[in-house]
Symmetry: C2
Subunit: 394 residues, 2 copies
């Protein structure tokens, strides 16, 4: 008796993975240099040397039980303290170690945050375009996901829609800034208005509404700007962070949830997360990873290439007649397709060995996502091919 | 609105952790040398040098994306291949890479195996004494856990009880050998009878009944013996393994589920596990850990000290008048307490700074668990203290 729920999920294959698999097959056929794959969001810059050095030092100087022994159920204390310090210093927060809960990546951060603040039948609201995995994450908690459109020019929140949607059953609002796939960075104004609206709605419905803030791209922001820290603007915020993108270590599975010190049950939430870990078989991320990152909480890889690539792509897309909003961060760009049907557009592009993801996957028709975590020369070659495709078809 | 389910779980504090915390507090008060803590099962022998070398070599010679990039959703191929080879070589199995699914420890292995083969309302049968976390693991799948007694002298399965208990709703039988807390090693005879019984019951009820075999102590077996491999004796077996104990790396969170090649849906189960990972926010274990273990699939730490300690403790317990079954493996021993109420016995022992876990935690009254993952000198000192306690009270 194999559980049919999971069997059925296999049928609903991820479109992004399917495109990536087709691109891989094509690479084997005609060689990697002839395939222009803008489909996958896998960091390409090397891991930060500071990370490698921290890990080597630990292996050289730390006894086996400290390095490889079980973490306490709420995580390694050095990690929790150093992350709290770092966030306090960078964003003027007042975290203590007890507000930081180490997890295995943003995926696990969201699994814990969503389970903690929803129950069977709760509503979670998010904004299109959105990371498609939010749907299985919410479903797994028995919560329903309500998707609202963002402003299609700026990809900031449409507050009228949000105002009229939040209801008695709304347990959480889930945001992602900098955003996958649009590259939008929520402005201070957006975050302030969001905080005010949520405060008002909490009073109106007389219960907590949590803001779950998914921030794996927090460190990838362009033009010397930085992402305003969402938790600054709203007390009941759970910040979900991952080192996958900032340190280029997505395979290592490490991140954290940071609980706003004035959130409801702030001092209890990490202990609640530890209970959630028990039920989902999670436990902490790798002990040595926690210790390494505790040594270098602020380190990042050399992320500059993403900005170089974005500028090249943005200018090229504008030149080619695409309507496109300039990304404020991430390694994605999200132009409108040159015909209304994004799936059809991206399918035709595949005949040119150009791989891009139609926006339907992100809950919004008529756009496509190009990922540019690749070497700049590859971006340039891809642009040439895109120009050829557009010239010959539109 | 914080989910009350998890809040309530905090109340049901783990007795083992509570004892360990009391022991820790005592250590701070009177010094570690004066506290005799047999409560916690945390490996104390150092990590295998082969593991450290494999990891150092990887850091020196592997490019960043191979070492730290996302694993495929069913895990790193080198890991899957090398584990399949190792199990085939050691146990005469016929695994292919597709039957091996890497997970973050036995905890995650059980989370995946249980979810795959149960649904809301399914029954899972296990045998006391048992690892207390099985209860939250089963509950989290919506399954009920039925606990049968083992033979109290041998801790082998009571087949009459099992025969009369398995019913239409039984989805899985969960075993743990070598056993925490009894130290019992299921014999070939036990495993053969179990396999035959399950085959017969599958035919009787005309549906699959899976054997979930939790094997984190597989490599810790005494007297030059070894653990007969449960999956050899029953087709529908999911073997849940962890490197926590064999390599002394419990904090690193790595293990696997091995799917018997002739199990129902054997070729699909790893893909189903990947879908389960999505819903519980798991993803694969650390990529570098998978690569390191792929290099040394058969390595273990120097596990001999556990056997030395077991022999000392076993002889001392017999001398002191305890009724005790000699463990075949693990780093636990499970004597009857000298009064019927194990909780009262262990409580009195705490006045002597002796910390042992009453067997009620393991679903069986009248016994206690002593863990001996410590230096032999500590075991000797603990034995002296135990003798004093027994002399003055019984
Ligand atoms: C918006 C968003 N959230 C979460 C994740 C998952 O991140 P992690 O690999 O740290 O689990 C991703 C990964 O691409 C993402 O883009
Ligand atoms: C019987 C048993 N199963 C599972 C586990 C969990 O092991 P891991 O740390 O690999 O998740 C333990 C740990 O003590 C155990 O004793």
């Amino acid at each position: 008796m194999i559980n049919e729920t999971y069997k059925h999920m296999i049928g609903e294959k991820s479109v992004i993975r399917e495109i990536a698999e087709t691109a891989s097959a094509r690479r084997r056929e005609i060689g990697a240099g002839n395939v222009f794959d803008f489909s996958l969001g896998n960091p390409n810059v090397p891991v930060s040397p500071a990370f490698t050095k921290a890990m080597m030092d630990l292996y050289a100087n730390t006894d086996s039980q400290t390095l490889h022994g079980y973490s306490p159920s709420t995580g390694n204390m050095a990690f929790r303290e150093r992350i709290a310090d770092s966030l306090n210093r960078r964003f003027g927060m007042q975290y203590e170690a007890k507000h930081i809960f180490p997890v295995s990546g943003a995926t696990a951060a969201l699994a814990h945050a969503l389970r903690a603040v929803t129950m069977m039948g709760s509503e979670v609201i998010t904004f299109a375009p959105f990371f498609p995995e939010y749907r299985p994450y919410a479903q797994a908690c028995g919560a329903s996901l309500t998707v609202l459109n963002s402003d299609p020019d700026t990809f900031q929140i449409d507050f009228e829609a949000l105002e009229s949607t939040i209801n008695e059953g709304t347990a959480a609002v889930l945001i992602n800034t900098p955003n996958n796939p649009s590259g939008a960075v929520y402005s201070e104004d957006t975050l302030r208005r969001l905080g005010e609206l949520l405060e008002r709605k909490q009073r109106e419905f007389d219960h907590d509404i949590f803001l779950i803030s998914d921030e794996p791209y927090r460190e990838i922001v362009f033009d010397g700007a930085s992402q305003p820290y969402p938790s600054k603007y709203y007390r009941n915020t759970l910040s979900c962070y991952s080192f996958s993108k900032s340190l280029s270590i997505p395979g290592e599975r490490i991140g954290y949830v940071a609980i706003h010190p004035e959130a409801t049950d702030a001092d209890l939430l990490a202990v609640i997360f530890a209970q959630i870990s028990r039920t989902i078989g999670h436990n902490c991320p790798s002990s040595s990873m926690q210790l390494a990152i505790a040594e270098i909480p602020d380190a990042t890889s050399e992320l500059g290439v993403y900005e170089t690539n974005m500028n090249l792509l943005y200018d090229a897309l504008v030149d080619l007649g695409f309507t496109v909003t300039r990304p404020g961060g991430t390694f994605y760009i999200f132009p409108r397709t040159l015909e209304p049907d994004a799936v059809s557009f991206c399918k035709k592009a595949m005949d040119y060995d150009l791989f891009m993801v139609p926006s339907n996957s992100f809950g919004m028709p008529g756009f496509m996502r190009l990922s540019y975590c690749m070497e700049t020369a590859q971006v340039e070659a891809g642009i040439e091919r895109l120009a050829k495709f557009v010239r010959e078809n539109y």
